[in-house]
């Protein structure tokens, strides 16, 4: 069980060593385990039982780490929810997961909207939530600040194959899709990551990713696995590269894992000439591709750090890694590398036949694979297949939907998606789901969301056909998307066209629409 990681009698853990810090508060392992155990006791008193889903809806900080481990210690299933997502999106995740108990620091108006649409029976609140409206007044409220007086609860013993957490991504219809990882797969990830990046008790990992983003499993579980510490970079700090670099220097961070976007901000606006970041010994990036010229800038700025490109959908956590030994050539894509430990990968063509050097869809089999999609046996059956390949020993495969090929060195190179999914700043976005939202904007008849590289960033552009005489503004479109989808899905530009290009079968021809949008913007 993941709660075993916080057993203070383990050799790896020094009770007086720092466990987690956010630049303001620092907890030693002893204090961290105490805080976790107190919140666990509150959850148990709220009748949280093994298997129940408990939502963690907190901004990043020491408290969010305490909350995650407290839920796991209670035997319940941790469901992280983006604290900055629109309430409509958060509600749909909470409802889908059947969350009845929520740990939150939401502002009052967000909380009010959540309890209107989700049947909660209890909430642990870290903010000043006042009297609840109507039907919600029956919700039991526990004040986070009152936890200090509680006893420390022991871990609830459950089977390692029990679900540990559910991470949500948006599905193709806009319906959220919950990825269920067991304690066994999360522990396997902690073990493999600790070995791969040679983590030691004196390391300090920067936590950049939010809890609902699977990169955070690195800091959440690999750090206690080796007894090292985590510096959580708070969300407000993360918006200021110069604050981030100051925090990294002050906290002497040794290992960094984030999407390229954050690193590019750091090299571009992080005032690195005034900071000493030589404590960083390893930079891991993943979630999207890194423009090679900018990665070269990063490697120049951090000459002492190893740099690795990490690939892996949330369904399998990490599955490949590519170590850069020198700054990349400006014109060639950076490979995603090769399978890491306890992992096998095959590529299959459209007919499903193995194709040794591709291009083909990546199938992955690994100890860190999800158990299933939450309450979606149809999706699970379509995504996880049992198959024997002569060249491989494993038989349970996750179909990634990602296309790749092998280069001359035998490293895998990512080519794109089989479907209409893109990643914006590391977050998955389903273009078809966004088309639906765009079509609901007043005055819009037909619409397509397209992704284009704008100033080096993959960004979304809404392309719409409007009613005669209707005026649709970028603001209208941004509002409609922001109300229903994560921030990454909000387009930065709007192009109005007379007619969207369609394929022979009457579907939107997204590549042609992209060209339409480019022509319209440049003209």
């Amino acid at each position: 069980m993941l709660s075993d990681l916080l057993d203070l009698s383990r050799n790896e853990i020094t009770a007086s060593a720092p466990a987690v810090s956010d630049g303001t508060d620092t907890l030693t392992y002893a204090a961290f385990v105490e805080a976790v155990g107190r919140l666990t006791s509150a959850l148990i008193e709220l009748d949280v039982a093994p298997g129940d889903r408990v939502g963690v809806h907190l901004q990043k900080g020491v408290a969010s780490f305490v909350a995650v481990h407290a839920v796991l210690r209670s035997g319940a299933v941790m469901v992280p929810i983006d604290p900055f997502a629109p309430p409509e999106h958060a509600s749909s995740v909470l409802s889908d997961a059947g969350v009845e108990v929520l740990i939150t620091d939401a502002r009052q108006h967000v909380f009010d909207q959540l309890v209107e649409s989700v049947t909660l029976r209890a909430a642990v609140v870290r903010s000043s939530i006042n009297a609840l409206p109507g039907a919600a007044s029956s919700i039991a409220i526990v004040d986070w600040d009152a936890l200090a007086s509680r006893a420390v609860a022991d871990p609830v013993v459950i089977d390692a194959d029990s679900p540990a957490y559910i991470i949500y991504t948006s599905g193709s219809t806009g319906q959220p899709k919950g990825i269920v990882h067991s304690h066994r797969s999360a522990l396997a990830y902690a073990r493999l990551a600790a070995a791969a990046y040679e983590l030691r008790a004196d390391d300090r990992l920067a936590n950049i990713a939010s809890l609902h983003f699977d990169q955070s499993t690195f800091e959440l579980y690999a750090a206690p696995y080796v007894g090292c510490s985590v510096t959580v970079v708070p969300d407000a700090i993360l918006r200021f590269p110069a604050n981030v670099s100051e925090l990294v220097e002050r906290e002497q961070v040794t290992v960094w894992y984030s999407v390229p976007y954050v690193l590019r901000q750091l090299t571009g606006r992080g005032a690195l000439d005034t900071r000493d970041l030589t404590s960083i010994r390893w930079v891991l990036y993943g979630g999207e591709s890194y423009p090679p010229d900018e990665l070269a800038d990063l490697m120049t700025a951090l000459p002492g750090a190893s740099v690795s490109n990490i690939y892996g959908p949330a369904e399998v956590n990490q599955c490949t890694r590519f170590d850069l030994t020198e700054p990349p050539a400006p014109d060639a894509p950076i490979p995603i590398g090769r399978a890491w430990a306890e992992t096998e990968i095959v590529m299959v063509d459209e007919a499903g036949n193995e194709t040794p050097s591709g291009p083909g869809e990546l199938l992955v089999s690994t100890s860190t694979m999800m158990d299933r999609y939450w309450n979606r046996p149809d999706l699970t059956a379509a995504s996880i297949i049992d198959r024997k390949f002569p060249s491989r020993s494993r038989t349970r495969w996750y179909r990634t939907g990602d296309l790749a090929e092998a280069n001359d060195d035998g490293d895998l190179v990512f080519l794109g998606r089989v479907d209409n999914q893109v990643k914006i700043r590391g977050q998955r976005v389903e273009l078809e789901a966004l088309d639906l939202t765009l079509r609901q904007v007043d005055g819009v008849i037909e619409a397509a969301m397209v992704a284009d590289l704008i100033d080096g960033d993959l960004s979304l552009v809404a392309v719409v056909e409007t009613d005669r005489g209707a005026v649709v503004t970028l603001r209208d479109v941004q509002r409609a998307v922001a109300a229903r989808h994560p921030r990454a899905a909000v387009p930065i530009d709007l192009v109005v066209v007379a007619s969207l290009v369609q394929t022979a079968t009457g579907k939107i021809d997204r590549n042609a629409v992209l060209s339409q949008a480019r022509r319209a913007s440049s003209g």
Binding site: Q59, F84, R239, P241, A242, Q265, R269, G270, A482
Partner: protein, 92 residues
């Protein structure tokens, strides 16, 4: 040399607030001078870039990366204080 973009602090505060409400945090309702724009998530990292670009254009100043920090951008008031420290504003 007189900087023709120097303007009264209160006028700048009003324009900056209007920009944030209209373009940076359109769904979030009213913003006051002391509303914390960051801890509450009203403004994300792209929003910070938008705001600093807007201030640079409006006041014809260049903001050094070391000045683009939480302390200077937490509220409209703190941005006004920063702009004043750069000599880009007058007292009404």
């Amino acid at each position: 040399m007189e900087n023709e973009t120097v303007r009264p602090a209160d006028e700048f505060a009003t324009q900056l607030t209007a920009f944030i409400v209209a373009d940076v945090a359109p769904n979030e309702g009213e913003i006051n001078g002391d509303t914390d724009l960051l801890l509450t998530g009203l403004v994300d990292s792209l929003g910070v870039v938008m705001i600093s670009d807007w201030i640079e254009n409006e006041l014809s100043i260049v903001i050094d990366p070391v000045d683009v920090v939480l302390e200077n951008f937490q509220t409209v008031d703190s941005m006004v204080t920063y702009a004043r420290s750069r000599g880009a504003l007058t007292e009404s």
